[in-house]
Amino acid sequence: MEYRDYYRILGVERAATAEQVKTAYRRLARKFHPDVSKEKNAEERFKEVQEAYEVLKDPEKRAAYDQLGSDWKTGQQFRPPPDWGSGFEFGGGGARAGRARYGAGPDEEAHAEQGFSDFFSSLFGGGSPFGGATRRGGRDHHARIDIALEQAFHGTTSTLELKRPELRGDGTLEVRTHTVRVTIPAGVTDGQLIRLAGQGEPGAAGGRAGDLYLEAHLLPHRLYQADGRDVTLTLPVAPWEAALGASIAVPTLGGPVEMHIPSGAQSGQKLRLRGRGLPGKPAGDQYVQLKVVLPPATSAEAKAVYEEMRARLDFNPRADLTG
């Protein structure tokens, strides 16, 4: 595994006070929090910052980490020393210092779901001297799953690889890769949660396993934009189709349907195909937003048609601009 320089990640000196560490964490957490940040690799950077703070905010962990010495560089191959953790008294929960914030529930021992590194797990994880007391009931885990709009419409089967640190019988830690093949029913919408009962952290001593909650993330689509169960399609139409009305084959997630464009339609106007959005009770609708596209006046014939329109039509698109 590779060494991680937690001081460098937080951008503080090794002699930084607890307050300086906290301030650095708050600043970086605000910058990289995946729910609010537009930074590239925000999620990855946020996990690094969280991991660093998890160690440096806790006096016991920080002191133990400091004992590794200051000669290590980020990325250097690393193995925990054989006497790791000796000489420290353990509070049984490790991460408790600093978690007494009103309202936020227990955040200790959630490293697996937060995706902390092997470096962290080997030094401070469940099998380490710093690991918390064994819980009978397993915790719930959370993950995000990317779903294409077509998959959301038809339903899909997806394979997830989840890494979970688990305790061996001898108390040491082992990282297991769980491959979960999950069937996702049709009609899932962006942000919706999918519960996989018993697929979270295993329970100890016969305790109940936690659940795995997947948050669905609908991937952007070339044609459609989803909003809940409704989808919107921008449909290019010719000026004569908008002006005179037309019957047009319109793509929908379930296949093309024939749609009537009323005469006198305008660019930007929205038409609705009821029940053609994502399935559900009730099913969503598909909105078709018209976009009038002008034919280019590049040929002599096209130019002649435009000239004739100019000569024969009494049309001033700027009539509203003049008093």
């Binding site: 708050r26 929090h33 914030r101 936020a104 890769t177 919706q192 697929q199 921008t234 596209v293």
Partner: protein
Amino acid sequence: MVQVTNITTGQVLGDGEWIALTEICRVCRIDAGAVHELAELGVVSPRGKVPEEWEFPAAALRRLLLVGRLMRDLGVNASGAALAVELLEAQHALERQIHRLERLVRPEG
């Protein structure tokens, strides 16, 4: 590394599903006091006469998960998280609208 394969079917927590306060607290890692405050602030609307009987629509779970993350990770209180959630939702709605309008004005071909 040990490989384990499980095959399972997910249960979508969708419209019509109601989730008990205890599950909300467990899943979102927020304590009941904070959920009570968030309900007072109008972030979520439970059904049930007293907090012990409260149930929340599944759609509230997404909001409360976000609230929980903001409270834990950024150290904001319930009021601050509630404000952030409303602003984030408004921002996402505007981004969707901008995206739709961009499609409308983008030249074809």
